[in-house]
């Protein structure tokens, strides 16, 4: 059932009463009565839905999956959503709802992330978690997944830090319909260590129209939304505009102007979003800090020297192949390969499909 209609229905009726209205056993009030009177197909489809998915069965599925069901008005229903323009009428939750009272940043971005974008998402997720900020994301492929991987890595790196921020995943399908399937382990980990929320009852498939709706919840529950990589159009820009509508600050990671993967984020910055150059910038936006920390977190990577430094500078400028590096610096292939191997081993560059890209926080 359409979110708007379900909201209207629940505004006028108690849940049990609403059920009877849907089944046609009880007359409706107000707007709903008009809709039902004027629109026979809607009436029929409501009735069909109701008979196909009886509440007893959904309830049983929720019990089996260990889900909490939060109807609007429920004492644990997230306060942040109560006065939203379009609050989800029902939420299905797994994990710790108290996380929604902590500091929260949404990290979103394209599913087709570059190696560099993935690394940035990971870095931000990790840094925010280490600072005790919870990270919201959509558990999609690409940026979303890597942001949460970064958060989870913070728990592994600092097992004793129980104040580390946790992952909050907002998903579009039902809790038992894992999408994308290769994120099965990520879903499980987020549900276990953080919170997994869905507006859809168990068994709901990941239909395309559910993703923009999911994005509005990410925007509504975040204090700041960070877009890591986005093309000129895409789901993450929907999240950004939902956030702007709700006066949630939007920040974006800048990229080269000629890079398609940065077109969306650069446009956001152009339109007034604050640029994110590192975790600090996000923390400042949260008023966690009022200046860049004087002491940077120690970069444990050995600083490249001599020829390697020159190679690093060339790659930091733009992604290159081994040929490109050799040509730019007039090196032999072997010297270029040796230098790249050293930089890769110490974590300054990464390679995919033969292209080397800068990775991690930039060399200062």
């Amino acid at each position: 059932m359409n979110v708007h209609r379900l909201s209207a229905l629940l505004r006028h009726h108690e849940p049990e009463e609403a059920w009877a209205v849907v089944l046609g056993q009880q007359p409706a009030f107000g707007l709903i009565a008009q809709v039902l009177a004027a629109n026979a197909p809607v009436r029929a489809s409501w009735q069909r839905c109701a008979t196909e998915r009886p509440p007893a069965r959904i309830w049983q599925q929720c019990l089996d999956l260990g889900l909490q069901v939060l109807v609007m008005g429920h004492p644990r229903y997230p306060a942040g959503l109560l006065d939203d323009r379009l609050p989800p009428p029902v939420l299905f939750a797994r994990g710790d709802l108290a996380l929604l009272e902590g500091r929260r940043v949404g990290i979103v971005g394209t599913r087709n992330a570059t190696v560099g974008g993935r690394a940035t998402a990971r870095l931000l997720g990790n840094g925010l978690a280490a600072a005790g900020v919870h990270v919201l994301s959509g558990l999609a492929r690409g940026i979303d997944g890597y942001a949460h991987r970064g958060v989870l890595a913070a728990h592994i790196d600092q097992p004793d830090n129980d104040r580390a921020g946790r992952p909050i995943g907002i998903v579009a399908s039902g809790h038992d319909v894992i999408y994308p399937r290769e994120h099965a382990d990520l879903w499980a980990a987020v549900g276990e260590r953080g919170l997994l929320l869905s507006e859809s009852p168990p068994g709901t498939p990941p239909e395309p129209h559910r993703f923009p709706l999911r994005n509005r919840i990410v925007a509504a529950l975040s204090e700041v939304v960070v877009v890591v990589e986005s093309r000129e159009r895409g789901g993450s820009l929907i999240t950004a505009s939902e956030a702007i509508d709700r006066s949630v600050p939007v920040m974006a990671v800048p990229g080269p102007v000629d890079r398609r993967s940065a077109a969306g984020t650069n446009r956001l910055i152009c339109d007034g979003a604050a640029p994110v150059l590192g975790v600090d910038d996000v923390l400042i936006a949260l008023s966690y800090q009022n200046g860049r920390s004087a002491v940077m977190a120690a970069d444990l990577r050995p600083r490249p020297r001599g020829g390697d430094l020159a190679i690093y500078r060339v790659i930091a400028e733009d992604a290159r192949t081994i040929d490109g590096v050799a040509l730019a610096l007039g090196l032999s292939l072997v010297d270029a390969a040796m230098g790249l191997a050293r930089l890769e081993a110490s974590g300054w560059v990464a390679q995919a499909d033969g292209w080397f890209e800068r990775t991690g926080s930039p060399l200062r």
Binding site: R111, N112, T114, V115, G116, R118, R141, G142, Y146, R149, L152, A153, H155, I156, P180, E182, D185, L186, A189, R259, R260, S261, A262, D318, A319, T321, I322, D323, G324, A326, L327, L333, V334, A337, M338, L340, A341, A345, Q351, A352, D353, G354, W355, E357
Partner: protein, 504 residues
């Protein structure tokens, strides 16, 4: 009256001797061929009859029975035409029977009495080593390579009859074209830039390492692949003979001299069927592209577009160097030892520098997954090919020419063969420590790669073999140094499908 004449058919890449017996007797006029002929073979009677009449030879109005012995074997093709005609002439008394002693006949007849070439001449002639073979003039080149001077040629049935009746000498073989008419191999000097890919070709040729070229369309993958045969040394006499048999059996034109001496280059289109690629067919088991590439290069462009079943069918021959085809009635083993060179885009849209790809990740994964698995594992070298730099394209000088590189390749191959008795790509894992000992720094580097999960167990052995070849090319015959391992690692790019991260 009876006459028997020797001929042969081809099966797989082997010639099989056939004796053509003709019996002419009184009775209702008729012409019957027995002994499991296939359709082309059975139609032979119409061609033979027409050829007789146009040549002006008398056609016996008797009962004619032709038997193709051994009669339990299926016989295909039109190469028995001439033998049937000659046997019939002998049985009919138009040619003395004793003149046929020491001759075999292989050619198709035209209705005008001309002799036409058939495929498989080389193996068929080789199957009759003790006698002189009579073939069509057009088949001379093919027959000459394996038979030397025990071959006679003729242009028409009339010439054959006159020669057998000693009324005219056998026609002289064509001469005067003692020029190598094969185009020279494509030269590496035409390739601008692409240093890493060039090295990939060199290593591939020197160590027999299968090579996968990964890069966007227009980056020159095909151009590079076409230059590998030029880097390979000439075929050894043994391989040359095997390749000649295959080419002849498949009806592929042989170079002047009748022998395949240079490494062949075969590039079947990705729509090719299983049979076209590995060989097969119902009667003759024709050799496929992998056999035609024997001793040379099989180039599969757009590897991902080939049918998965087709690619799977190549795994066994890749392993064994021979393809065993079995059919209900017969089976054959065809040589298929080739260097596999393949090219692929990194993703459906073609990719390019990071961020240029327009595919969503699912499409990308699906595309690469088609390549992944068993076949992808056989490539020792995975070389990234990027669009050449503008500077490189405009630069006046080309890179090193083929002549220089192939000399290095030949030297490295000699070192490798002397050390291991085989090309470096075939060194068994348990002999790697003995044949490719690692410098401590190189060992440490490989250990780190393994620990960081960037290298699998199988990849580890492959890297060591490639590093061995690189060391051989650089004249380090004993130890494999760190720089050789690093180069080997750079010639094995990580496809982004394999760089997926696990949840901590």
């Amino acid at each position: 009256m009876l006459a028997a004449v020797r001929s042969a058919t081809v099966f797989g890449v082997e010639g099989r001797p056939v004796i053509v017996e003709v019996h002419v007797s009184t009775g209702l006029p008729g012409f019957l061929i027995v002994g499991l002929p296939d359709e082309a073979c059975r139609e032979s009677r119409d061609r033979v009859r027409a050829a007789f009449l146009t040549t002006g030879l008398g056609w016996p109005s008797c009962k004619i029975i032709v038997n193709l012995a051994p009669s339990s074997q299926r016989k295909g093709g039109s190469g028995l035409d001439l033998a049937i005609a000659v046997a019939l002439l002998a049985a009919n008394g138009q040619v003395p029977v004793e003149q046929l002693e020491g001759f075999g006949f292989i050619a198709e007849l035209g209705l005008d009495g001309s002799l036409r070439a058939v495929s498989g001449i080389a193996p068929m002639v080789a199957a009759m080593p003790d006698i002189t073979c009579v073939v069509a003039t057009a088949s001379f080149r093919e027959a000459q390579g394996v038979s030397g001077d025990r071959v006679r040629i003729a242009g028409t049935l009339r010439e054959v009859v006159d020669a057998l009746n000693a009324e005219a000498p056998w026609p002289r073989p064509p001469d005067g074209e003692f020029v190598d008419d094969e185009p020279p191999p494509l030269d590496l000097a035409d390739v601008r830039g692409q240093a890493a890919a060039r090295l990939g070709l060199e290593v591939s040729a020197a160590g027999g390492h299968h090579l996968l070229l990964v890069g966007p369309p227009g980056s020159g993958k095909t151009m590079l692949a076409q230059r590998i045969p030029g880097l390979l040394p000439p075929l050894t006499p043994e391989v040359s003979l095997e390749a000649t048999m295959v080419h002849s059996a498949a009806g592929v034109r042989l170079p002047f001299g009748g022998m395949v001496r240079r490494a062949p280059f075969r590039a079947p289109h990705h729509s090719s069927s299983m049979v076209a690629l590995v060989g097969g067919g119902s009667v003759a088991l024709r050799p496929g592209e992998i056999s035609l590439a024997h001793g040379g290069v099989l180039f599969l462009d757009e590897l991902g577009e080939f049918g998965p079943v087709v690619l799977d069918g190549m795994r066994q021959p890749l392993e064994e160097g021979v393809i065993r085809l079995a059919r209900a009635r017969a089976s054959a083993a065809l040589p298929a030892k080739f260097l596999l060179v393949a090219a692929t885009n990194p993703c459906p849209c073609g990719g390019g520098p990071p961020g240029a790809c327009e595919c969503d990740e699912v499409a990308r994964l699906r595309y690469l997954r088609r390549l992944s698995g068993p076949l992808l594992d056989r490539f020792d070298l995975r070389v990234g090919v990027a669009k050449p730099d503008v500077e490189d394209l405009l630069a006046s000088g080309g890179g090193e020419p083929t002549a220089v590189v192939s000399a290095r390749v030949a030297a490295a191959r000699a070192i490798g063969m002397a050390r291991a008795g085989t090309l470096n790509a075939n060194i068994p894992p348990d002999r790697l420590d003995e044949l490719a000992p690692l410098h401590p720094a190189a060992r440490a580097r490989l250990r780190t790669e393994l620990e960081r999960d960037l290298l699998t167990g199988r990849g580890y052995h492959r890297i060591r073999r490639v590093a061995r070849t690189i060391a051989d090319l650089q004249g380090s015959e004993e130890l494999v140094l760190d720089e050789h391992v690093v180069m080997a690692l750079s010639l094995r790019v990580r496809l982004s499908v394999s760089s997926r991260e696990r949840v901590a």
